[in-house]
Each structure stands twice: as C-alpha cells, then as structure tokens.
Amino acid sequence: MRIIRLLPWLCALCIASAPLALAQPATANWGLAQLMQELAQVHSASASFTERKTVQVLSTPLVASGSLSYVAPDYIRKATLLPVPENFVLDHDQITISGGPDQQTHVFSLNADPRIGGLVEGIRATLAGDLPALDHYYIVRLSGDAANWQLLLQPKNPGAARMIKWIIIRGKQNHLDGLDTASGNGDHSEMSIAEDVSDAQ
C-alpha cells in the first residue's frame, strides 16, 4: 500500500526560516498597510541568523546558525552551517530539505496539506508584503511603530493551530530582525537575524 506518507509535523519547522529587509524611512500614517507596502519593495535580501530552540525533551536549548536569502515573491533559502550543515529551500510551492543529519533529500509540496501550506504561505506573504494572503491564513496583529514593530500571527486553520500556536515577526522599518515561534506541544524557537545585503531603497 503506497498510502503512508510521513506525518506532516515537519511543517512546524518551516516557521523557523525567515529573511529580512533594509531600513526604510517611516511615514506619518504608519500601519499594517504601510508596513506591507514597504516590505513589498524588497525584491531580494540575504542575512545571517542564529536560532535558539527550546525542546521539551531537552534540558538545554539547541543553537544553530547559518545564512538566509530571499528572492521575491516566493523563494526562501535557509542554509544552516552549524552544528550540522543543512539546506532548507522554499521555491514556489515546494519545500526541499537536504544534507541534514540523515544526508537525504526530502521534498514536500505546499498544496499537499493545508497545514503546511497555510504556515509557509503566511511567512512568504509577510516577506512579499502580501496582506490579502496573510489575512487569509492568519489572525494578524501589529504592535509598536515603524522603528520597532512586532507582527503577531495566529493560524486560522484549526489543524495548523494545533501545531503552531503563534509566530512573532519583529523588525525595524522594512528590515526583519527576529522570528519567534511557539509550537502546540510547548516547544519554541527564537531566531535573531542580521542582514547583509538587500535591494530595498
């Protein structure tokens, strides 16, 4: 029977990747629409990251680091260098994970499962400044101001909500500097981001 697929838990990890953008002068009537508009102007960017994962079964957090790159509207690459090299690529509607501890290539389609699709589509939508898509998948709350904002995303899909409680994306102007996620089972991860290059004006 070719019916058994891997359980779609791995979608949780998609959250852990997110690129960034450069600073952009804030305007007077700043809000979600304005933020999205500014984010939409970033066509490509790259950065380095450090990720701290707190896992229930472990007594100490796990730390990983590497580089991120983004090409609008739907290409995201997270290349982990330490502790073990690994590549995570979202290209259009396909996720490819390769070179990890098992040295194998895993391919997933975003369309295959709304739980994966809903989560990754949301991250991509933030980066692309695609507010309608973001609204479609998440309850979106913005706090702070242009100089220091924080976007709280909570999945609308009940299946996705069971796996990911929330995602917080932090930034300054159109530049992302942090991404925190909390999964349904109590694990959480904090990622700090320092960008190198961006084509944003």
């Binding site: 697929r5 079964v57 369309n111 709304p114 739980r115």
Partner: protein, 775 residues
C-alpha cells in the same frame, strides 16, 4: 405401440435424471478454473486474485470536472458518507483518517514489526547511538518529524516502518486529499466487504456510492458539474454482465424472432415449431449433467458457449420436418434420412472430440458438452420426435424456400468458376497478408470494453500503482511456514537491493512477521529494570531530560509480555496488502512477493536461484502470459487440424469412397479458406475465438455437404432436401450473424466466423457438388 412408449419413457427418465444432477451441480465462473491445470502457478493465482482475491475488493473512484478545491471538498464529503456504511471496510482518499488505522497499528506494534529489534539495539551503546541521532535530528529542520514521537520511540522504529510501508510513490496530494498529478481528478480507493465476483453486492455498493455522490454534489457549493468515474474488478464485472445480458437478450430475441418466422413460414404448424426445440433442449440438459459428472463442476463459459456449439442440433429437427413428404409419416422420413443425419452428427462429435484433449479445462469441458449434447439431440430426433409429429404433417412452405438456391444450382456450371476464383483469390490474399495473422494482444480478447481498460490504466497511473511485472514466488504448507520463508527471502532480497539490482520489494512478513520472529523480538527487549539502567548509562553526557522517556519504558514493557500479532489484528489496508501477497491455494499457501524496479531481470533471477532458498522462483508475468497465449493458440490450431483430420477419417469410414469424401470435404475447405481471407481482409487478425468458429463451420457445414451428396429418389424429395438445408442454414446464419453485432469479442468473433462460413459452405456445397437429381 410399445416402441413409442418405451422411447418416450426412456427419454423422460433421462430428462429427470439430468435435472436431478443439474440441481446439485456446482457452477463456477472464476477464470482460474478455465485455465489449464498446467498453467503457471503465478498466472493462476493472479487470475484468481483479479476475480476473488484481495484486489477484487477495491473500487477506484475519481472525481473530475471542477477546480481542485471543490474536488477536494467533494472527496472529503463523499469519503465521510461512505465511511458510515457497513458495505465498505475502508475508504482511503489521502486524508488523515485514511492513514490513521495503519499509523495507529504501526505505532502500537512497532517493537514486534521492526526488523531492527535485536538485542544490540537495547544495550547502553545501542541506545546511546540512537539518542545521538535523535539529538542531531532535533537540531535540524527535520526536527518536527520526531518531536512528538520521540518520548515513546527514541530508537525511531515507527518512522522507519512507515517509511518502509510507503516506499513506493503514492499519488499527489492537494488540500490533504489524493489527486492525479495534473490536479484534474481527486482520487479515492474504496474497499468493499464483498469480493469482485459477487456482482450483486458490487452492484449494491456502486448504487450506494452513486447515491452518496449525488448527495455530496448537492451539499458542496459549486460542485454541480462534478463527474464520478468508477473503476475496478467489481465495476468491470458489472459492466460485462450488463453488456452480456443486454447483447444476449436483445440478440437472442431477434434470432428467435427470425427463426420462428422462418420456421412458421415453412411448417405452418405451431405444434411442430415447438417440437423442434425438444432435441436441443434435451441435448443441453444431458450435456450439463455429463460435464458435471465428469469434472465435478460446470464453468459458466462452458454453459454459455456450449449452447452455441450444439446449435446445430436445431438443424436435426429441421431436416426431419422439412424432408417429410406429403403422404409420408415422420417415422418413414427419419428411417430414410437417419444414416445421413447420423453421419453428420458423428462428424461434428468427432470434430469436437479433439477439444477433449486440451490442457485448458474450459476447452475440455466444451468438447464433452458438445459431444454429449449432439448425441442426445440426435437420439431424441431419431427415437422421440417422430412419435410426436401430427399425422399427415408436411412442411407447406418448403418449396418456396428452396427456390432461389435451386435457381443457382441450375446455373452452377457458370457459377462454379466464381467459387474457384474466390478460393484462389482467398489463398492469394492469405499468403500476401502483411504482418502476423494471429492477434497477440491479450486485451483484444478481454471481455472488458476498451474504454474501461483505458480508464483503469489512467486511474492506476494517477494512483501511482506500479504495474508489477516481476515476482518472487514460492509455496508453503502452512501460513507460518510461508511467513518464515518470506523472512529468509527478505535477507536475500535486501542484499540485491544493496547491490543495486533491485529497487525494492514487498514480502508478507514485512506486514505480519512470523510468530518465530515476533517471539525473538520480544526476547530481545530487556526487562523494565534493566532497560532503565541501560538508558541512564546511554543518556550520560547528553542534554535529554531524565523523565522525558516514560512512554518508551511503558511501551517496551507492554510489548515484552503482550500478545503476538495475527492476521486478524491487521488494519484493513494492511490486511488487503497481505492478502494480495499471501494466498491460500489448494492445500497450501502461495507467496507472491512483488519486486520493484528490476533493472536486470536475468541477474535477479540468477541471484534468487542461487540464494539457497528451495522452491523460490523468479517470475516474469509478461513472459508467462505471452506463453499462456501461445499455448492457447498452438492448442487451438492443433485442435482444429486434428479435429478436421478426424472428420475426414470418419467420412472415409462412413462413405467408403475417396471420391465421395472429396465431394463432401472440398466445399468445406473452400468455405473455410474464403472465410479466413474475408476475416483478415485489410490487415485484420485471427483470434483464438475464430479458430473455434472454424471448427463450427466444419461441424455444421459437413451436414449440408452430406445431404447434398446423397442421391434423391425423386424430384420432390430432392426439393425438400434442398429446402431443409436452406432453412437450417438461414436459421444458423441469422442467429450467428446477430451474434456478430455484439460488442463482446468472443460473441462477435464466433458469430462473424460462423455466419460467414456456414453460408459459404451452403453455396459451395450446392455449386461444387453434382446433386443426385437435376432440378
């Protein structure tokens, strides 16, 4: 008239006895019973599988005609409704519920199922290695895969097992349900409780599916244009039954109407019309009883087919009734024509007797059926019918029926050249025929309509079900033995996979390990205290929480003392898969393990032969079915040839003159040659069914030739003789000609061949033979 009473009494006793035997007869429809006893085991098992085995329980559904999100919603709604019904064991459409049973089973029994459960696995060193691996995965982007299962399964057995079970590529998924790769069709697999051959239950299942589909279409917004496609063995069986029923009902009604009007015109007596049925009806009853007594069962094909083979016995009554002259009694007539009739009947039975020696059980049954049927029908015509014909009966319409042929016979000196030219042209056409004369495409013989076959192939492709061509096959005395042997085989096949000769394989023991292995795995699990002690050592220096793995300790302890798995514990999808590989047969079990991605068949065959596993064979299914078809063809030709030779020998014995035999045989040969040429005109091919048709041409046509060959004492008798042959031929041509209109290959081919051939036999016999009295 003691003679009359004795004949009628004997006949009635015979009928009652036959009816008694038939009441106890077992009728079988499985094609396995039709195949030769010597057919390759794999072929037999697969044929059975398709009609009654595990795979026959599956119906594939496809939803199409709307955008993917609507189709996905339809799939979920339909699956939800079907899952409520007891008629369906399982409904798999790719959603979570589709796999919940298998995932739950694998999770609960991971320590009995996993091949990695050895004593080494649970030493401090083994556990330490597993934990190190887990730590690496947790830190990676794949960490999500194990986060939830880790506390209960630090050695990762469940994930490995699920990966093994789902090794082949499944269908694509959109919105968490199965789709064809182009997103045009949502796919569902329905597992019915009834097997495919139980057509009534399958029909009921389809009715339920169609009803639920209608409800789902009304419930899902925008789904009004969605269409449902159904496929699978049960669906085919229903389609075949419906087509056959429709064709047979319609065509036999038409044929009957034709025969009734012809015979009414000739006889002008309803009573005699009805009497004409007695020989064939008695023949059929006796034939069923004889086959049942000899073989222990009667195959459905034998029954349907046999009746057409002894259709000739309708002619017997026609000869008797039509040749009874004015002022003559039927008893006088039968005494006069009996020698010819008897020789004609013997000719046919000798022709059919060749079939008795076929290795195909079905052919042998058909041979016996026709012989018994014809002998009894002729006997009833000879000894029973004359007593029942009304005094002074005479077929009033006979004269006008024979008129056209008599006109042709008057012109026969000129028309003979036409026959000669026809035969020469036919021989030329046959020798110039481009390509092979034989139709080697098995699908053309299948009663499954081409459209259904194409649709099924499309859906199989959509589902990613590989067309398995290669198998490792072996027999075992009992189920446990079969499972143990498939475990031994696993080791050899694994080494073939490691060497790249094989992409993968499935064996029954992967789903249900033998009791021997399950006990060994239980024994390999350490006791509770020992496991905790070793785990503490294994954890040293690693950042795992001490209390994180309580579910693991609990589950290992439960498995160590828990019950073992049996076939009954399997969830439906795995039970189905096991049933497709492990089949009960005769008084043992057969294992057919599918081999995937065989790059070098000869190499794999050699490796399996050298693996030191007695009785395990490598089977190439395509090769075997080609061979089966070739055997079938060789036998069909051999039967036709030996049957024809036997006919000639019998005629020699009966007529005692080479010249007379030639007079009888020449028109038959001409008719068969011209028929073959006509059938293959324009690149057409000869099917096996047509060969059976040729045999029928000889059986029926020889009667015409024998009657033509006989000299008649006067013009009236001669005219009546011609009339009876024409009448018999018209009935045959109309019945078989109508069969040729059927869409079922076997009916179409035989109908076409026999209608054409018998008509040509009549014409050739009339033109080539110098009749006994000039008309």
């Amino acid at each position: 008239m003691p003679n009359k009473r004795r004949a009628l009494g004997f006949w009635l006793v015979l009928l009652v006895a036959c009816a008694g035997i038939i009441a106890r007869t077992q009728f079988r429809t499985d094609m396995g019973a039709f195949l030769p006893q010597s057919a390759p085991m794999a072929q037999q098992v697969l044929t059975e599988q398709a009609t009654s085995g595990a795979a026959s329980h599956l119906i594939v559904l496809a939803l199409t005609g709307a955008p993917a999100p609507i189709l996905a919603a339809m799939s979920e709604t339909l699956a939800g409704q079907l899952r409520q019904r007891a008629e369906f064991i399982d409904v798999i459409n790719g959603d979570d519920q589709s796999f919940a049973g298998v995932q739950g089973f694998v999770w609960a029994n991971r320590y009995l199922l996993s091949a990695d459960i050895t004593a080494d696995r649970f030493t401090a060193t083994g556990l330490h290695a597993a934990l190190l691996n887990d730590l690496g995965l947790l830190g990676s982007d794949l960490g999500g895969m194990i986060q939830q299962t880790l506390p209960g399964d630090p050695t990762g057995e469940a994930l490995t097992l699920l990966r093994q079970l789902g090794q082949a590529q499944g269908p694509a998924s959109i919105g968490n349900v199965w789709f064809s790769s182009d997103g045009a069709r949502a796919l569902l697999l329905v597992h019915t409780s009834a097997p495919g051959f139980d057509i009534d239950s399958q029909q009921q299942a389809l009715t339920l599916i169609n009803g639920d589909f209608g409800k789902a279409r009304r419930a899902v917004p925008g789904a009004a244009g969605v269409r449902l496609i159904e496929s699978g063995p049960g669906v085919f069986a229903i389609h075949i039954r419906d087509t056959t029923k429709r064709d047979v009902t319609r065509l036999s009604l038409l044929a009957m109407a034709g025969a009734v009007s012809l015979l009414s015109f000739a006889y002008r007596s309803p009573r005699v019309l009805l009497l004409g049925i007695l020989p064939i009806a008695s023949g059929v009853l006796a034939a069923i009883a004889t086959v049942s007594l000899t073989f222990g069962f009667v195959h459905g094909v034998t029954l349907g087919f046999g009746v057409t083979l002894i259709g000739e016995s309708i002619d017997y009554a026609i000869y008797l009734f039509t040749q009874t002259a004015r002022g003559e009694t039927a008893s006088d007539t039968i005494a006069r024509i009996w020698p010819t009739l008897r020789l004609g009947m013997l000719t046919s039975t000798v022709g059919f007797s060749a079939m008795l020696f076929s290795s195909f059980t079905g052919f042998a049954q058909l041979g016996l059926f026709s012989i018994a049927g014809l002998i009894v029908a002729a006997g009833v015509t000879r000894f029973v019918l004359p007593h029942l014909v009304p005094q002074g009966f005479c077929a009033a319409g006979a004269d006008s029926i024979s008129r056209p042929l008599r006109a042709a016979i008057r012109q026969r000196r000129r028309l003979r050249w036409l026959v000669a030219a026809g035969v020469l042209a036919s021989i030329f056409a046959l020798t110039m025929h481009r390509g092979a004369l034989w139709d080697n495409n098995l699908e053309n013989l299948s009663p499954i309509p081409a459209r259904d076959q194409a649709q099924d192939q499309m859906l199989r492709r959509d589902l990613g079900v590989p067309d398995v061509r290669y198998f490792a096959v072996f027999k075992a005395a009992d189920k446990e033995g079969a499972l143990e042997k498939s475990e031994d085989l696993t080791a050899s096949l694994n080494s073939l996979v490691a060497r790249g000769k094989l992409g993968g394989f499935d064996v029954p023991s992967m789903i249900l390990p033998s009791l021997r292995t399950q006990r060994a795995r239980q024994a390999a699990l350490p006791g509770a205290a020992l496991l905790r002690e070793r785990f503490t050592q294994a954890q040293a220096g690693l950042p795992f929480r001490a209390d994180a793995f309580e579910p693991f300790f609990r589950d290992v302890a439960a498995t160590k003392t828990g019950p073992l798995l049996s076939a009954g514990s399997l969830p439906p999808p795995l039970a189905l898969q096991l049933g497709s590989m492990l089949v009960r047969r005769d008084n043992g079990w057969v294992v057919m393990a599918p081999l995937h991605d065989v790059a070098d068949p000869a190499g794999v065959a050699r490796a399996i032969a050298l693996a030191g596993l007695p009785g395990v064979r490598f089977v190439d299914l395509n090769h075997e079915s080609d061979q089966l078809l070739q055997t079938f063809q060789r036998e069909a030709v051999l039967l036709a040839v030996t049957g024809s030779l036997a006919v000639v020998l019998l005629l020699l014995a009966g007529l005692r003159s080479v010249a007379r035999v030639i007079t009888v045989v020449a028109p038959l040969a001409a008719a068969v040659i011209m028929t073959a040429a006509l059938l293959t005109l324009g690149g057409g091919k000869v099917s096996i069914f047509m060969v059976v048709g040729f045999l029928l041409i000889v059986a029926v046509g020889s009667n015409y030739c024998l009657f033509f060959e006989r000299s008649a004492p006067d013009a009236e008798t001669w005219h009546r003789s011609i009339a009876s042959i024409v009448l018999a031929n018209l009935c045959t041509v109309s019945a078989y000609g109508l069969m040729a209109l059927s869409s079922i290959p076997v009916l179409h081919d035989i109908g076409m061949t026999v209608a054409m051939g018998t008509f040509l036999s009549l014409v050739c016999a009339a033109l080539l033979k110098a009749p006994g009295l000039e008309a």
